[in-house]
Amino acid sequence: MAGLTAAFNRHSTMLQISPLVITLTLFLVGPVIVIIVLSLWKFDGFMTLSDVWTLRNYERIFTRSLTVSNYLQTGKMLIITLGVTFVLGFTLAYFLVFDLVTLRTKMLLFLLCVVPFWTSAVVRTVAWIPFLGKEGIINKAVMGLGLADQPLQFLLFSEFAVLLSYIQIFTLFMMAPLFNVMARINRDLIEAARDNGANSLQILMNIILPLCKPGIAIGSIFVIALVASDYTAIRILGGSQVGTVAASMANQIYSVQYSPAAATAMILLLVVLLLVGGIMRVVDVRRQL
């Protein structure tokens, strides 16, 4: 028995980490390997042939003009979402940390931002339909005010609708890490700068913003991952107008073109890994936890 306990203690770390490693091996590494293999199988236009190996799926990605437009669309939506969620998330976090005085108000208002995150994502997305539709609230208001005599078409089933739902939800993913790093900024630094004659803008640009870098990095990683892999919002709010990489992959899967979809998925994964890896090289994310 004593020997058993000793053996357990000696190997306890390995025993503690193995459930995580086993789960991620089965359900992350496993699927990635399956997708790599699948992407190398031939697709004859109707079905995937599991014994014919080919690089044709990748070749098609790099020769199709659709790929370029898909990545341009994803890139455009990513840049807009990153830009807006950063400005919005930074301002909101700044308000919570520096403008509010009592901890109780800060926590209460922060919690108010988090609560909608816990309602169903599908429901949250659907909820935009009565707002943006042809008969929706915004169109009723615009026409009632005489600003337009026809319903605005670009509101629903469009890139605009998808971006609006991204900004609504993903701002939180940018705001939370920014709130976290801002709350840890030493107020004495700001006082010292002010005593030395720095104005608000200089304090913002030379003290607060540089100290927020880790928060910006973590928030950006979240937003990049979320935008790159979303197709739920696109399916519900995008109509057929929005052709991002993930959406085109979802279409390929829908029409049982598994091996071309697998190749698309691999390239998308590589692009996301490069972006996130780049950020993690600049900022040591783990030290921030």
Partner: protein, 282 residues
């Protein structure tokens, strides 16, 4: 505004932006709650037609195409399984990461990769993997794994943050007093990290209960609630979707608020316990 309180420049625009954002965040969900109380034959938009519980009845009507009772039950059970697994696996992993085992950097990168990996890749990969093994993925097998690939990164990252704020001297003190490793874990480490663990549990449940993209290809013949909802949307959108949305929203809120109340009571009790002890010592 109290007299004499001087607001920083730019306070009011920032405050206005903050409250506008809250409006932007809540208004759509609020609108669908209102619209779910319409009478029969209503549309998805305003003006509101009548007032009744008709669409709530439809959610529970077995005759109705999408009988939501079973998907709801499955999502709750799946959420609970994911919650327990996420909590235990993340806690154990958190313990291991403190000791900086060999390969910890690799495992950390695996966790990050699991977070950022495109959902559709995981979903397709698990589905094809199962069928190549001659199995059919079900919500409780492949679906469970797909969800763990999504909840574990959150769980592990939260536990890493919790453990990095845990003072190791507390555990050393317990060991110095002769506590065994198990006693230290049971009476020191777990009680101190409990609020974090509850957070992980809450994240695990709600992230799974809510999840659509990763489970979409691997739920098998019986769908989870979000999959059922998306399917219903592409078939025929009626205010029933709003009714189910209202109910799931209220359900999530009930869980969150009861969790907060439990955490609050626990914090109070612990504080009270400490105070009593201090008084007794006086």
């Amino acid at each position: 505004m109290r007299e004499g309180v001087k607001r920083a420049p730019g306070y009011w625009p920032r405050a206005a932006l903050f409250y506008l954002y809250l409006l932007f965040l809540y208004a759509p969900v609020f609108i669908i709650i209102v619209l779910s109380f319409q009478a029969d034959n209503a549309s998805l938009s305003f003006p509101m037609q009548g007032f009744s519980l008709f669409y709530f009845g439809e959610v529970f009507d077995p005759q109705f195409i999408g009988d939501y009772r079973w998907p709801f039950g499955r999502s709750v059970i799946l959420g609970l399984m994911v919650m327990v697994l996420t909590m235990s696996i993340s806690f154990l992993a958190g313990l291991a990461f403190r000791k900086n085992f060999k390969g910890n950097i690799l495992v950390f990168y695996m966790v990050v990769a699991s977070l950022i990996c495109p959902s559709i890749l995981i979903s397709l990969g698990i589905g094809i993997g199962f069928s190549n093994l001659g199995l059919t993925s079900q919500w409780w097998s492949g679906g469970l794994g797909a969800h763990l690939s999504w909840t574990l990164p959150f769980g592990v990252l939260i536990m890493l943050a919790v453990f990095s704020r845990l003072d190791p001297r507390l555990e050393e003190a317990a060991r110095d007093q002769g506590a065994t490793q198990w006693q230290t874990l049971r009476n020191v480490t777990i009680p101190i990290t409990l609020p974090g663990l509850i957070g992980v549990a809450l994240f695990g449940f709600t992230l799974s209960y809510d999840e659509y993209p990763r489970i979409s290809n691997v739920a098998g013949e019986f769908n989870s609630l979000p999959v059922e909802l998306v399917n219903a949307l592409s078939l025929a959108a009626t205010p029933t979707i709003y009714a189910i949305g209202t109910m799931t929203t209220l359900f999530s809120l009930a869980i969150i608020f009861s969790t907060f109340i439990v955490v609050y009571i626990m914090a109070k009790r612990r504080q009270g316990f400490g105070m009593k002890k201090l008084k007794a010592e006086e």
